[in-house]
Amino acid sequence: MDDRRLQLKFYETHDGKDVLKCIQCGTCSGSCPLSDKMDYAPRELFALIRDGEMEAVLRSNTQWYCVSCYQCMVRCPQEIPVTDLMYILKQMAIEQGISPKTAKMPDLYMTFYREVLKKGRLTEAMLMIRYGMKHPTDTLSNAFLAVKLLKRRRLEIIPQSIKEPKRISYLKSADSERTETK
């Protein structure tokens, strides 16, 4: 999808058009605990969206570094739902199969998503197994923690499901349209 079509797609999402209200004051970037680590701080990211540089936007690490603390959102003089826009950008990046340099994050979120789809809730052991297949070194580095948690009976091994996980089956239709990140 080209930049222009991606921009239109962004504007069509819930809250997407709010980015047009941005006055480029930078309060969001100033409130953000991680803006100095981001490829583009939120203010810059919004300028790029409006300029139609969507590929650069979707490839950036900005939305993936958002901790959703909402500090920007309560301070924005234009009441732009900054954090919600970050969620949209993450969704779009995954949909388009565009992953940032830190490609682990989409995989982790995808693992959460599949697990909720299947069981209606998250089960830690299954998360570790599924995510671990994609990032084995991460799993190994967490193995010691898992053992310690087990000792204190703070890790559940047998996956639990809600009684009727298919009740969340609505999620499936959304899932089938989605491509894996590359």
Binding site: C69, Y70, Q71, P81, L108, V116, E124, R154, Y170, L171
Partner: protein, 288 residues
């Protein structure tokens, strides 16, 4: 007073003592809890699909609505997620219709008749400081607490309506009623770092380390949390990554119902005092 207890996915695995201490404290205060088989609050899938997040949250609200009972959750991220869904569905009729058409398949419906409340809001607004105070048998003496608010309870204020998002006070007042003193620390409203845990550990640890140092500089003996994710960060992650690695001195984090329960004179076992990874047993020395 009766609520449906919404634990979320993480408490049963990681913080069973958050559940047991919340139950113990609420029982003492005469708050009755009902168990409903809820599903995920929707927060973890918000990164992937907006309507799936909304449906997941709305289904929980609809389950409670079917029994005409408000939700009480000890997790601030679950709280934020449920409040967000509630707000969005109220605001947008076409979203509401779409979600209800799915819920309808199992005879559920969201009409917005029940509310999701956080444990702290229930204690502060519904139970009230006066009632809580009447149950305090052993007030703390000389204990200094850094109350950590948690982002998703506070912000966005318009949606969650927990307290003033820029100058909140209910957590400090809930701490004060136990006899402990709340320290004034500048980073009390900041992120704990957990949202990045497992995704970018150095950044996640960096956010936590700054907060821990800020709390100890302010003279706090303990952090106090009332959120699943924040407590996992300040307890499990702090112990494994900072203390074991010898990177800093420990700043133990106690869950609010543990703090309150000890002052009520409840058994430390029921409150899971020994379940915290960073030892909090020394808090009992401050009890009078």
């Amino acid at each position: 007073m009766k609520f449906a207890l919404f634990l979320g996915c993480k408490i049963p695995f990681y913080l069973a003592h958050y559940e047991s201490s919340s139950r113990a404290v609420l029982k003492t205060l005469g708050v009755e809890l009902v168990d409903i088989e809820f599903n995920c609050c929707g927060y973890p899938i918000r990164n992937l699909d907006f309507e799936s997040f909304l449906l997941s949250a709305a289904r929980n609200l609809a389950l409670a609505e079917r029994q005409n009972i408000n939700i009480l959750t000890p997790c601030k991220c679950c709280f934020g997620s449920l409040k967000h869904a509630d707000y969005l569905l109220r605001e947008n009729d076409s979203l509401k219709d779409r979600i209800n058409s799915v819920l309808q398949e199992e005879g559920l419906r969201w009409e917005g008749r029940v509310e999701a409340k956080h444990l702290l809001s229930v204690l502060f607004h519904e139970v009230g400081l006066k009632t809580i105070k009447a149950h305090i048998k052993h007030p703390y003496d000389g204990l200094k607490i850094a109350a950590h608010y948690g982002c998703h309870a506070l912000r966005p204020g318009k949606i969650v309506q927990f307290d003033n998002p820029l100058e909140p006070s209910i957590f400090e007042r809930l701490v004060a009623v136990t006899g402990a003193e709340s320290v004034d620390w500048s980073m009390r409203l900041d992120c704990c770092g957990n949202p990045l845990w497992g995704k970018n550990n150095p950044l996640s640890l960096d956010l936590m380390r700054k907060k821990l140092s800020n709390a100890s500089q302010a003279g706090a003996d303990f952090l106090c949390a009332a959120c699943t994710y924040c407590q996992i960060q300040f307890d499990t992650v702090q112990e494994a990554e900072l203390i074991q690695e010898g990177k800093r001195e420990e700043m133990p984090s106690i869950l609010y119902p543990q703090l309150l329960g000890l002052a009520f004179g409840l058994d430390g076992k029921a409150l899971g005092i020994e379940c915290n990874k960073v030892d909090i047993s020394s808090v009992q020395e401050y009890l009078s």
